[in-house]
Point group: C3
Chain length 324, copies 3
């Protein structure tokens, strides 16, 4: 007995046929764990060549699992290479829970690319670190993995930078600078515990609400990342006088006053104080933008990659290759 057959469709009529005729549209689904997803990511996605960007708000891990599965089913293994997913939102933990849910999908096979960049933290942290490696090279200060690093700020950017530096093998301290915290020491202990548990990095945390603690920390640091709240100055001139030289300082706060007194937004390894070289927020911002664009373009063209923080850093480093 012959089984019944669906009439063969003309070329280009089926989903697969469209691929053959090379007109498959590239679609980016943006999942935001909250509402009002970043217009930054939307614009960049279109500029990276996506044909369509679809916004989904308040996405839970459960939602994401179903949405990714449905999308994979609809286009099949070949077509789904033209589908990508971007996980955004304000909250690092929520975004990473969404990523986990997607990674745990057993069937169908995950052939689409996944980007995760809540509040731009992954690309910003990766850009900061790749830039710092480059700066150490040009200032002949050596390799980042041998440096003592201090990160001011415990938001998404500060956390991911800490994780990346910890994984590189640096000696890392993360510091909370907010003088209004009711129990700053307890808070920073919680941050350290979370970083150990979720990312498996064992680093030191310090509550540094005042000048004294900051000077103490900075004296023992080679590389300083300032990623505290926008418009909050963390390091002023008087601190700079007290902490010695042979340091790289990176500031990602673009809202005046900047995080480090004397740094200008466009500084690109400029000597802001004798022996202290500064990298400003616009320099980092441009690099972050280039990095995100590179990742979006790759994801659109290739598929099957998960752009987590480690792949992010690798891609950030590749922006410098061949430049020297």
């Amino acid at each position: 007995m012959e089984s019944s057959k669906v009439k063969p469709l003309e070329d280009g009529e089926t989903s697969e046929g469209i691929i053959r005729s090379a007109s498959k549209k590239s679609i980016l689904f943006i999942f935001d764990t909250e509402s009002k997803m970043s217009s930054f990511d939307v614009c960049l996605a279109y500029d990276a060549g996506y044909d369509a960007v679809m916004l989904y708000e308040n996405v839970t891990p459960k939602d994401a699992e179903r949405l990714v599965q449905d999308a994979l089913f609809s286009r099949g293994p070949k077509g789904s290479r033209f589908t990508s997913f971007f996980i955004g939102g304000k909250d690092l933990g929520k975004a990473e829970a969404v990523l986990e849910a997607i990674k745990n999908i057993k069937s169908p096979q995950l052939v689409s690319s996944i980007i995760i960049d809540p509040r731009g933290a992954y690309t910003t942290a990766a850009a900061m670190i790749a830039k710092t490696e480059q700066a150490l090279l040009t200032t002949k200060m050596g390799k980042l993995e041998n440096k003592r690093c201090i990160i001011f700020g415990t938001g998404p950017v500060g956390k991911i930078a800490t994780v990346l530096l910890g994984k590189l093998g640096c000696e890392v301290v993360i510091a909370s600078t907010n003088p209004n915290r009711l129990n700053g020491k307890k808070y920073i202990k919680g941050v350290v515990r979370l970083l150990l548990k979720r990312y498996d990095v064992d680093i030191r945390g310090v509550y540094a609400p005042g000048q004294k603690e900051r000077i103490h920390l900075l004296r023992e640091a080679d590389v300083v990342f300032c990623a505290a709240a926008p418009g909050i100055q963390v390091i002023d001139r008087s601190i700079l006088e007290e902490i010695g030289s042979e340091k790289i300082m990176v500031d990602v706060n673009v809202v005046p006053p900047l995080g480090i007194e004397g740094i200008k937004p466009e500084d690109d390894v400029r000597e802001i104080h004798p022996g202290i070289f500064g990298i400003g927020p616009v320099t980092i911002g441009r690099l972050k933008c280039k990095l995100e664009m590179k990742i979006l373009r790759e994801a659109r063209e290739a598929g099957e990659k998960i752009y987590d923080y480690e792949l992010c850093l690798k891609k950030a480093r590749s922006l410098f290759k061949g430049a020297h």
Copy 2:
């Protein structure tokens, strides 16, 4: 007195002009009665050639009426042929209430196409039935309209399959299989009443939580549709031994264990038991996907049709034409 006139605009400048210059974009508005609309439908819509897919969540009948009217006004009778509407969501009743509201629009004239497919129920049910007709033909078992049919499952797919079979004139039984229902007999009576009231089909309902009831039902059936909850086995080997032969069995449950023991996902009218021919969920899924693609393409190109379950079935049948 001459009335004042708006300055004639250059070709291509007005909405109508754009049509003439053949560059009118095709737009699909997806109305979901809940949130997180299906990414399946979004991908398929782009692959069907739509230039833009716009998502509206939590759409009520009142919302839909206004949104369709506004869209019709904006593009006029010619331009609105390039606009389509797709009604989705989890709830059959809510989706159908939205369709009713749109059909009741008095002005302007409804020249856009409307697709309704909550949870894929319309296309899945239509694909199942058209495939079964084809299977009866190839197995030389005769015509579907003369068959005794049993549908396991009272979700959207089960309900719409029941309605379509009832309208074809089959002898139909719909069965609830969930053994955890507190009052299964009352529940299934409610389903039967609803099908009579809303769809004008008068069929029989049975509560079949156990093997005994299922065997009884299956002995008297020629065609069996299994559309119960995913991952729930409804018919096991021991049941198959007891129910005789000369039957077609269709399973749409793709999550293991499948609804019918012995059926494989890709089965395409395979003899799974002596005299019993099985059609698996992947075979149905592919057909459903082709059907939805066909409908989306037609809606995009032509306009002025309402793809309700009956038109869905007609389109599903057309997929087989010329194949034999």
Copy 3:
């Protein structure tokens, strides 16, 4: 010391490069202060040539500020000319608060175009007034700025028409016609105060729930705008008998019964009563549609303009230029 440099990217690889290669996509962000944004605006935007229309619901002034800034940052000053923003919603005040927040953005420079048209009020009011100026010209009744105007209706269209006429220097009365208001006189006083405070126009308000008040107002008016609730007749035949001639009457209510008895939807300066010339809602609607299309096209192509009600009126007038 040479500062480190990011490797120069190939042409077309960066955001700026894409501009050079002339393939930059035009993106319209629609911000709605409520949910379910107008499908009218969406369709028109695509027909105006936008490559992508992104919908954001329940947007607050704070949200808008961040979303516009993020979008500006992502594409830079050149790329952001291809980004536009459209503020919609039911509530005039909320939409205008969103506009204010955007106008107050200090950095980066606002090079994108902003359109504001809550409930179509700006374009409808501007279309009504430009059309009336034209009608006065063709009927040889003189200039609008010398006329006594009465506006029936205190919704968004009525309010913005009142503001525009007040700014032109007309003698303007705005009237509430709803006989069910509990305290109509107090209500209309509030409207007048709001118009003075928010728009700096000092006009007169009247509560006109019945025939007597309306006749009184109409006798002293040269130009009458009827923008009350849809389906509510404000002026009947018996009123028309009592109010003299040499008048222009404009009706924007398209739902029968129209606002003015005897006016037909397509009337285009037709003598509906001896010496009274009527302009119907379809005539205004068409003009509004052309105006919005013109604005969207301009915004898409040029950037850096804010299409507030005054620019709206200027653009509406330009539709008539060269027509006579």
